[in-house]
């Protein structure tokens, strides 16, 4: 790529002016160059896609690759940060379907799709409800103000993943603690590396044990059984799949719970309507997913051929960041995107991505969000923020947007 106008290339990620809105720069760039060059933290130049139709088009294009180990794959770390967090990355970049393309990706995804069918997810509802109820019990019993993030946002998805993977009950507390340390701001890099090693060893042992013994009736157990009949994955890839399910399903859902609760509390009229009629909740959740689109730059790709799109040509081997948040605030598709309108019908958002990599766990996430919001509105009608929403510690520095702590009075 020609870099004659280096100084003109804006840096990515861009700063937000308001914690609930995308960077204002997106709007400006979208109008000028909907596919813009940006400089990533490691100095590499990549393409940022800001329009909804172009985002969908690129994510569905067979000429892009999801190979996260490609040297030009856009990442949000500087070279220094990358070196310092190498051990954590060794865990989070273990090979799984999110790295794969074409037929190989298809085979890896298809051996799992049955686990996430709507029927299978519906069957998990009673267990999710129990987990949510217990988490809310703990929040109610905690000294006030209690941290919603600790008691509910983090706990619920972590326990749901334990349920899916078949983590034995006595080991769930350890699992939850390590998973939390991977993204905690208050632990040192050394502690974080130790937690990621512990998690890696733990999942390695979990899979090995399930491979040795009688097949267990959980996702990993069934995956192992199917894989024996029709081999698709190596042992390492099964462990990588367990890691991927944790990475993809934990912080994403956790942050949506925190942001969604704040959105409900800040919109008391809507909150009252939903509390009176929970059938309004699913469309409201689609709007929250659109509005926050928390997985901002994970849908990154590499062009495997030259691609002409949005007035530019992305050259082979160049990196692409498809911002779901920018796409979901495209005012040609969502009128007044800054309005949180629970009734707008926002289902065509790309918060879960698009194309063959679209989130496999999306319908589990929907169920978790629905049960958490419905149960909180029903059981804790007096729930309120203990600090003004604009003073909450938002995750400006994280790959997945959210809030570190949400003190609430129950």
């Amino acid at each position: 790529m020609t870099e004659a106008f280096d100084h003109d290339i804006p840096s990515f990620p861009m700063a937000r002016e308001c914690p609930m809105h995308p960077p204002a720069e997106y709007r400006k760039l979208r109008g000028q160059e909907p596919v813009s060059r940006v400089r990533m933290p490691d100095g590499q130049v990549a393409w940022l896609v800001l329009k909804h139709d172009l985002a969908r088009k690129l994510l569905a294009d067979p000429r892009v690759s999801a190979d996260r180990l490609h040297p030009a794959f856009p990442g949000r770390l500087t070279a220094e940060q990358r070196a310092a967090t190498e051990r954590v990355r060794r865990l989070t970049t273990r090979r799984s379907m999110i790295h794969l393309d074409g037929d190989e990706h298809g085979a890896h995804r298809r051996i799992l799709t049955g686990e996430f069918s709507l029927r299978r997810i519906a069957a998990l509802r009673p267990r999710v409800q129990e987990i949510v109820d217990r988490s809310i019990d703990e929040m109610l019993a905690a000294p006030q103000p209690a941290d919603l993030v600790e008691h509910v946002s983090q706990a619920v998805p972590s326990l749901v993943i334990c349920e899916l993977l078949g983590v034995p009950h006595e080991q769930r507390r350890d699992f939850h603690e390590w998973a939390g340390m991977l993204v905690s701001r208050s632990v040192s890099i050394r502690e974080r590396a130790a937690a990621s090693d512990a998690l890696n060893d733990f999942l390695e042992d979990l899979v090995t044990e399930k491979e040795r013994g009688e097949p267990t009736d959980d996702l990993i157990g069934r995956l192992i059984a199917r894989n024996r009949q029709t081999p698709v994955m190596t042992h390492d890839e099964i462990v990588g799949t367990a890691v991927m399910l944790l990475v993809a399903g934990h912080q994403t859902t956790a942050n949506m719970i925190s942001l969604g609760v704040v959105a409900l509390l800040e919109n008391p009229e809507h909150k009252a309507r939903i509390a009176a009629d929970p059938s309004l909740l699913p469309p409201a959740i689609e709007e929250m997913l659109r509005y926050f689109s928390v997985v901002e730059n994970a849908p990154a790709r590499i062009a495997t051929e030259d691609i002409a799109i949005g007035g530019v040509t992305i050259r082979k081997n160049e990196g692409i960041v498809v911002s779901g948040l920018a796409a979901d605030w495209d005012d040609e598709v969502f009128e007044h995107p800054d309005r949180l309108d629970f009734e707008r019908g926002a289902r065509h958002h790309v918060a879960f991505g698009y194309g063959v990599h679209q989130c496999l766990g999306q319908n589990l996430a929907r169920v978790e969000l629905e049960i958490v919001f419905e149960t909180l509105l029903r059981r804790v009608p007096g729930l309120s923020l203990a600090v003004p929403a604009e003073e909450l510690p938002y995750k400006d520095d994280a790959g997945i947007y959210g809030i570190y702590r949400v003190p609430v009075n129950c």
Partner: protein
């Protein structure tokens, strides 16, 4: 209206079942299994929405 659902392209996101449950279902493997390939008039707008939402272009309307 006549539709074709391509199981080979399906990635199991279930968008079609969510918006048009009278027309689409999933099989044991979580892949698209149409309940009917000739949707009734009342279901047609939902089928069009399903086609738009499908992330892997696995559903096609052959005849309006």
């Amino acid at each position: 209206m006549h539709i074709t659902a391509d199981r080979g392209r399906c990635v199991g996101a279930a968008q079609c079942v969510l918006v048009a449950p009278a027309v689409f279902d999933q099989d044991e493997e979580g892949l698209v299994a149409p309940v009917t390939v000739d949707p009734a008039g009342a279901d047609r707008p939902a089928v069009r929405q399903a086609v738009h939402l499908c992330p892997s272009s696995a559903i096609r309307i052959d005849e309006e």
